[in-house]
Subunit: 141 residues, 4 copies
Amino acid sequence: MSRGLNKVMLIGHLGRDPEMRYTPSGRPVTTFTIATTRTWNTSNGERHTETEWFNVVTWGNLAEICKQYLSKGQQVYVEGRLQTRRWEDSEGNKHTSVEIVANEMMILGERREPLSNNHFTESLQETHSTDEEIEEDEYPF
Amino acid sequence: MSRGLNKVMLIGHLGRDPEMRYTPSGRPVTTFTIATTRTWNTSNGERHTETEWFNVVTWGNLAEICKQYLSKGQQVYVEGRLQTRRWEDSEGNKHTSVEIVANEMMILGERREPLSNNHFTESLQETHSTDEEIEEDEYPF
Amino acid sequence: MSRGLNKVMLIGHLGRDPEMRYTPSGRPVTTFTIATTRTWNTSNGERHTETEWFNVVTWGNLAEICKQYLSKGQQVYVEGRLQTRRWEDSEGNKHTSVEIVANEMMILGERREPLSNNHFTESLQETHSTDEEIEEDEYPF
Amino acid sequence: MSRGLNKVMLIGHLGRDPEMRYTPSGRPVTTFTIATTRTWNTSNGERHTETEWFNVVTWGNLAEICKQYLSKGQQVYVEGRLQTRRWEDSEGNKHTSVEIVANEMMILGERREPLSNNHFTESLQETHSTDEEIEEDEYPF
DNA sequence: TTTT
DNA sequence: TTTT
């Protein structure tokens, strides 16, 4: 039973094809970006448009599904929590990254062909063999 | 009619009393921080706790309500959109800030005494006289 | 400042073209239905699918936009509150209806042509002349 | 990967203590009601208040947690999906019931004492022995 | 039937 | 920096 709510819901389009990697222990991680466009009218009647970009991260099964079904330009619904990570690079510079750790994803609009990926599926089988549970923050990217 | 969804919903506790300021044109802006605590169990049975901090910004009427009714430690529900702002300081360093621009707020738990603020209310009247509509990004903070 | 949250978010397809009517005072009301499909796997590996139907109601400007842009089969995102109305028909039978009173709507998927409706737009102008604010529950339908 | 969104989020107070029962196969189900109060101002400056009542259903682990920690009057956050069930009673009358099938629950406000329930815990152990997975709609209530 |  |  949690004591806090941290929920983000997005609808937007993928900025690029998703990328899948693996943690040292073999857990799949898929990342992609979503552009969300907001339009509004100012008091003097002008129309404004602003695009906000989000970094989305998915883990485990959902990571594989995202890699397999999503591609650049597609419209998706994504739900998850907001996470800020801070780290230092090798030169000691501090960085902050804000990500949506998604636990739900829905493809919107017309159905596209699932990516043809016999190859993909095979490689999944191999890598997936070590699927022990790991900490999410174990993975540096 | 919008074409994108960018929604954030938080429940957490205020890290400090809210601060209210005004844009050059007299529009009130209130900022505060919210801590959201997440707890989960790892596969080896350990219990983890992680606190995420959020910067919340409110405008106009809601800014005044937040200033008037919220105080450090209080539990609130906040709903809004996620906004990333990038700017350079006077020395040319680049900064990024991520904020929740809230359009709804609910006080949770027991009712606290509204802050005694005859003084506050008066000053509101004065400042509020110039209430023309301005762009949100007009305000640097 | 509200003290309760009652929020519904749906993504689904319209079951029929929306219908627009007017309250006695001239306020537009548009109603339509949305089908939301849920799929899940049972423990014995069977795949289940269930479709839930929702009655959606919109008022004012949004009612006009829904009438103008939505049509049967379209995929939409809808956000609003859940409302239960109880009433008796002329024969004394009691009825209950559950509706989503939507305050946000987004068209998903590919953009369709806006319905050609010079006629529609004209009639809107006429009817719209009496646009005083009325109680939502004033309208029996 | 789902193709529809059906999400309800509520904050309100419990109208009565939750009730826990078991399906024939031993799966716990807990039901309770939540009151959500909405206040708004009409155009002529009057203040209105309306309370909406929701039937909430929880299953499995969450059912046990709700039974154990919730009691009448408590403020909670509840998240789930909207479900309409139709059935006929023994006299052939048709009924419709609308429920929130919750999958998340958060207690809001001050912490109350967990209900003292050594007895409760014991009885849980016994009944829980048959914890096979069953269909949700298997349970008539 | 709850709460403020 | 909050809360439990």
